[in-house]
């Protein structure tokens, strides 16, 4: 089964992810427009999709441990996650708070859940900017990898932001948080195992 999966993946070009991501964003906007509170629904749905895509991106590496190789999709997935989070941020600023600056600044300085979400977004920016071959070459593989480890705390902060928005804690919000925390722990355990053993 893994072989079939890998063979299928090999035949699908990575740009499919960009097409699917943009189509999903367009659908998300279209679906929100049909609701009574489109700005809020759009804001929420873009954020949720962004978080889901970022979690999917973090799954690419652990899947390789089990022989599933989807590595060629990782950059596109990460960038699409970033696109959703950027649109989520812009929707909040332009459509929900509608550029009411005093309220935006109060939110960004006073409200922990906004601060956590904003930091998650800011942390994704250097990752998006360096998600190309030229930047990998310029930074060198080691530094690039070290920088991109930021994807874990950024996604974790995104999941925490999601949990904090809820008026009550839901199973859904807990699952996102547990998924990211689990991926982060798995990654740490794996890298500890790989470290050279003392003689």
């Amino acid at each position: 089964m893994i072989n079939t999966l890998n063979q299928t993946a090999r035949r699908i070009p990575a740009y499919t992810i960009y097409i699917a991501g943009i189509a999903l964003a367009a659908w998300t906007i279209y679906a929100a427009l049909a609701t009574p509170d489109p700005a809020k629904v759009l804001e929420r749905d873009l954020g949720t999709r962004g978080l889901q895509i970022l979690i999917a991106t973090l799954c690419i590496t652990p899947l390789r441990w089990y022989g599933v190789n989807l590595l060629k999709f990782r950059r596109a997935l990460g960038l699409m996650g970033f696109m959703f989070i950027t649109l989520h941020f812009l929707t909040w600023m332009l459509l929900d708070l509608a550029l009411r600056w005093s309220e935006i600044l109060t939110d960004l300085t006073k409200r922990p859940f906004i601060i956590v979400g904003f930091l998650a977004f800011v942390a994704l920016i250097p990752l998006a900017v360096t998600s190309n071959n030229a930047m990998i070459k310029r930074l060198g593989a080691t530094r690039w990898k070290r920088l991109h480890w930021l994807a874990y705390p950024a996604t974790l902060a995104g999941a925490v932001h999601f949990v904090m928005i809820g008026k009550v804690y839901t199973l859904e919000s807990a699952l996102y948080f547990l998924a990211v925390a689990g991926l982060l722990i798995a990654r740490r355990l794996k890298s500890r195992k790989k470290a050279p053993q003392p003689a």
Binding site: P36, D37, D96, R100, S102, R111, F113, I165, K167, V168
Partner: protein
């Protein structure tokens, strides 16, 4: 129309009936419209107890018999910072309380929503201690703006909006306006209320609409008026939801940053 009605244009019937917070049917605002149809609202009875001259379990018809029903077009402001204009039909709670005979020791009115897990899919699991409970101070309950609504847009109350009978207190955040009432209790002490129990720092007992007192997680200075579309932006929130002329005196001497 009633002198208590706003002359602002009401939201569409569709907006009012498809965007609801009613966690007994699910967390999403589309859930009540999707699932509330299963709730059986006829026959319906309401238990009246506590410090009252005429306690008992009344059929809905008996409970409201003799109470004039009139249209009230009210602003409705959710604690989540969105708002609507709703043309309710209802009776003044004050008239009903007079009929029931409030004893002088009574200081508050407590309300409970029906709990029927078989008809309310949101009730299973979750972290809310059902039934949903709300309450008012007696002077708030007796205020002429406070109504028990039995319909909207001239139609019987849709299930997702709190059929067959719900409270509407237009100067308070929407969560005070408890739906599908099955118990009305006259009590001496401030009653326990659902959202106040879940997060006392976020949802006070009074819950008066107040742009000067922010919710800990968001500003209450402005609101999105439903129905304006994606680019509608926000409007400024009015203290007491614009009903200050009529209700501010109820809170004379109270610090509204403490009694939020």
């Amino acid at each position: 129309g009633s002198p208590y009605s706003t002359d602002e244009a009401p939201n569409s019937f569709e907006d009012i009936t498809t965007y609801n917070n009613y966690y007994e049917f699910g967390y999403d605002k589309a859930d009540p419209a999707a699932y509330a149809g299963k709730l059986k609202t006829d026959p319906w009875s309401v238990t009246v107890d506590g410090l009252v001259d005429n306690p008992g379990t009344y059929s809905l018809a008996d409970l409201i018999a003799g109470q004039p029903i009139e249209e009230r077009i009210y602003r409705f402001r959710c604690v989540e910072a969105w708002s609507m204009i709703v043309p309710w039909q209802g009776l003044q709670l004050s008239g009903l309380l007079q009929k029931l005979g409030v004893k002088p020791e009574a200081k508050y009115v407590a309300f409970e929503t029906v709990v029927r897990p078989d008809e309310m899919p949101g009730i299973t699991g979750g972290m809310i201690d059902w039934p949903y409970r709300e309450g008012l101070r007696l002077d708030e309950a007796m205020h002429p703006l406070t109504i028990l609504a039995t319909g909207l847009y001239g139609k019987p109350m849709p299930n997702q909006n709190g059929a067959p009978i719900r409270l509407v207190v237009p100067w308070k955040y929407g969560f005070k306006s408890i739906k599908a009432i099955v118990r009305i209790s006259l009590v001496a002490e401030q009653p326990v209320t659902t959202w106040n129990t879940l997060a006392a720092n976020e949802y006070g007992f009074y819950a008066n609409v107040n742009p000067e007192v922010d919710h800990p997680r968001w500003s209450q200075a402005s609101e999105r008026r439903i129905g304006g579309g994606l680019f509608a932006g926000r409007i400024d929130t009015l203290k007491f939801n614009g009903y200050g002329d009529q209700v501010a005196s109820l809170y004379a001497g109270q610090d509204l940053t403490k009694d939020y």
